[in-house]
């Protein structure tokens, strides 16, 4: 474990903490963005710069920005009302279950040898070829889901008057 | 013109705009021609007809102005911005202005005073960077001419004296000529009278009158040339 991994991990955790602890939603979103940059750093230390860049390009530059847009336009940035304890508990249980389940899956999954992957040439090309051959169905399904999301966003916005530009932002 | 035609023509108009701005850029960058005047370092070239506060003309011949304090300007001024005083000066016949007060804050630059001036000694100055701390803009236009006034008076006195003597001489000459004529006539009469009696010194007296008349004519010429000094320079006066 090198010191750059440590830095990336600390940034990730700090961002995640910010994201869940801040009362101000916008601060939380910025925390999430920081966390995502940290994740990109982790990918970097794992010698997969392409995934790292995609993390920044899509999650930070695209999704986080879209979230900020949504928060800004919804004008609910600082909710003062207290949520009830039951709902919080349920949320905690759900999140915990998801975390434990994910951890279990990861623990039992069989990964290929990391060193072999690192040394292979043109791993990006392999990703592309696999994506459009072996995992074509999953890839196309995801595309359809995204397309549905875009169309749905447009439909929802179209019911209200004006603001076509925002729908286009969602699409972006 | 379809959609793409419009796109093309729009692109063309963009290029036209860029060509225009570049030509201006090139004119300043390569041609070194810009419209900026670096004001305190460069002075603007004023138009010949530029109008600013009036001033008195300094004639080269006399070294000073030719204001005779006639008050024509003061009378004609529609905004009452001129106040002048002056008059007879000791030693010379010509009247001179003593104070020429001009209030530039009232002046509308109409130029009537310039037209009215009988000696043509007023003109527009080219002063354009006037600024001050209050509204008092009364300026004595004669102020800058004061030091030359004594000199001018002296010169003028000489000129007038000369003119006077010339006039005297002329008058005397005329008188003499008259007397000579009278004498001649008298002589003629005498001669006619005495013709019958005898013939005396006739050619000697006949030659004298023209010689006497030639002298005053010569003395008259320089005097005449100096009297209209005020009129000669006005033709080329607006030079500063």
């Amino acid at each position: 474990m090198s010191y750059d991994f440590a830095i990336a991990a600390v940034v990730t955790l700090a961002g995640a903490l910010l994201a869940i602890s801040q009362a101000n939603i916008l601060h939380a979103v910025f925390g999430l963005a920081i966390s995502l940059v940290g994740v990109a750093g982790i990918f970097f230390t794992l010698n997969s710069p392409f995934v790292a860049i995609m993390e920044v390009l899509i999650y930070v530059g695209g999704i986080a920005v879209t979230m900020i847009f949504a928060v800004m336009l919804s004008s609910v940035t600082n909710p003062q009302e207290k949520e009830n304890v039951g709902r919080r508990l349920m949320a905690a249980v759900a999140a915990g279950t998801f975390f434990v389940g994910g951890a279990l899956v990861l623990h039992h999954a069989e990964f290929a040898d990391g060193k072999e992957l690192l040394n292979s040439e043109h791993s990006l090309q392999a990703v592309g070829v696999n994506l459009l051959n072996r995992y074509n169905l999953a890839f196309e399904t995801l595309s359809v889901v995204l397309l549905l999301a875009i169309v749905g966003a447009i439909v929802i916005v179209r019911k209200e008057p004006a603001m076509p530009a925002d729908a286009e932002e969602e699409a972006a | 013109m379809g959609y793409f035609g419009k796109v093309l023509s729009g692109f063309g108009s963009l290029l036209t705009g860029m060509r225009i701005t570049f030509s201006q850029f090139a004119k300043t960058f390569f041609g070194r021609k810009n419209v900026t005047l670096q004001y305190p370092k460069e002075q603007p070239k004023l138009a010949p007809a530029f109008r600013s506060a009036i001033k008195l003309i300094r004639f080269e011949e006399t070294g000073t102005h030719d204001c005779v304090a006639c008050k024509a300007c003061e009378r004609i001024c529609p905004s009452y911005c001129i106040k002048l005083s002056g008059g007879k000066v000791e030693g010379i016949k010509k009247k001179r202005v003593a104070e020429f007060e001009m209030d530039f804050s009232l002046c509308s630059l109409c130029g009537l005073c310039i037209d009215a001036c009988p000696t043509d000694t007023l003109e527009y100055s080219k002063v354009y960077e006037e600024a001050g701390y209050n509204r008092d803009w009364r300026v004595d236009l004669v102020a800058e001419f004061r030091e030359y006034e004594a000199e001018f008076v002296e010169k003028q006195r000489v000129i007038e004296e000369k003119a006077a003597t010339a006039k005297k001489a002329k008058a005397e000459a005329a008188k003499k000529a008259k007397e000579a004529k009278k004498a001649k006539e008298a002589e003629k009469a005498k001669e006619a009278e005495a013709e019958a009696a005898d013939t005396a010194e006739k050619p000697d007296t006949a030659e004298k009158p023209p010689a006497l008349e030639a002298k005053p004519a010569k003395a008259d010429a320089p005097a005449k040339a100096e009297v209209p000094t005020a009129e000669v320079p006005t033709a080329e006066a607006p030079k500063s």
Binding site: V37, I53, L57, G61, G62, I68, E169 | Q24, T28
Partner: protein
């Protein structure tokens, strides 16, 4: 002799700070010169003289301005969102420096060699977008917020045609390939590597502006919008929004945004040179000189455009992006892919 500067610096512990200091120094000088150039170009286009008083040809005018900005008070308005307000200038400033480090100034002068340099540059642009948001929101000012929203909407919209036009060049590079001068062996070109893009152009003696003219035009227009420059300077439309997202910033914080803006100009034009104008490729003069010469030519055109055209309206801007630029760039990409696949 190490092949790249990064290899030379790899051995030293001080490599990072030294490189960062060098880049920042160079960028500061660049920004000073660019602001001066902008003022001069605008003056010359309008038949004026521009700054002439401080230093020869007014060259030191911007230095004086910078000193003034540094010495000014940093005003933090009341009711601002303090952490965001303070963080935003730094966040706008940092990615810009990082992006410059990726540029291949010549075959051997590359500060950071990376296989995905092109994507890195775009990714850093994404971080800058967040910074603009932080500034706009944190200022607690309606003009700043509106300016930020416009700026971000514009940035992420025009990022799409920008990336798509760059991708069509990537396709061409991948298809062409090239031989490395040293070994003479054919290397499968990686179109996402900035130096590979230049090398492909260098070896085929063909600038990609000739191969991809439509992509070049789309790239240039998108770059203008991406850097928020006229005629797409709607986020800073002073007649409507005072100064956009940096309305509330003063002194050095303001100048950091300014710095980021002008360095962004440099990055975008450097990328244009890499993608379309053959990078360091050129006769007689050394590579880095050609690279900067071309970059500054592109910047000159950007200034020229700025002082020629009036500002667009916001809806015109978005319509233009989504209805013209994006379809056109997708069509161009598809056509390129088709040609590459067939050949």
């Amino acid at each position: 002799m190490p092949e790249t500067l990064s290899q030379l610096l790899d051995d030293s512990v001080l490599a990072m700070p030294i490189a960062a200091g060098l880049i920042m120094g160079a960028l500061t000088i660049n920004v000073l010169m660019l602001v001066w150039a902008e003022r001069k170009v605008s003056a010359w286009i309008q038949r004026r003289m521009g700054p002439t008083e401080v230093g020869p040809f007014g060259l030191l005018q911007t230095l004086a301005d910078m000193l003034k900005l540094i010495s000014k008070q940093l005003i933090t308005p009341s009711n601002v969102d303090k952490p965001l307000f303070h963080l935003a200038p730094l966040l706008a400033f940092a990615p810009v420096i990082a992006a410059v480090a990726l540029m291949p100034f010549s075959k051997s002068l590359i500060l950071v060699q990376n296989d995905f340099g092109l994507l890195f540059v775009f990714a850093f642009g994404g971080i800058a977008v967040i910074a603009i948001f932080m500034a706009g929101w944190g200022s607690n000012n309606k003009y700043a917020l509106l300016g930020a929203i416009r700026s971000v909407a514009q940035s992420i919209s025009y990022e799409i045609p920008l990336i798509l036009s760059a991708l069509s060049v990537v396709l061409v590079v991948n298809a062409m390939g090239f031989t490395l001068a040293s070994g003479g062996s054919i290397v499968v070109a990686n179109g996402l590597d900035l130096s590979h893009i230049v090398m492909a152009q260098d070896q085929h003696g063909l600038w990609f502006v000739l191969v991809q003219p439509i992509a070049a035009i789309i790239y240039f227009i998108s770059a203008l919008a991406e850097t928020n420059r006229a005629p797409f300077d709607i986020p800073e439309a002073e007649s409507e929004l005072v100064a956009g997202f940096h309305t509330e910033y003063s002194g050095m914080r303001f100048s950091m945004f300014f710095f980021a803006e002008y360095t962004n100009m440099l990055i975008v034009s450097m990328l244009a040179v890499v993608l379309f104008f053959g990078g360091w490729d050129g006769p007689v003069l050394p590579g880095p000189l050609w690279f900067f010469l071309k970059s500054y030519m592109v910047i000159f055109v950007m200034m020229w455009v700025r002082w020629t055209f009036p500002r667009l309206r916001f809806d015109q801007l978005m319509t233009f992006c989504w209805k013209v630029m994006i379809p056109l760039s997708i069509l161009n990409l598809l056509a390129t892919a088709f040609v590459v696949a067939v050949l």
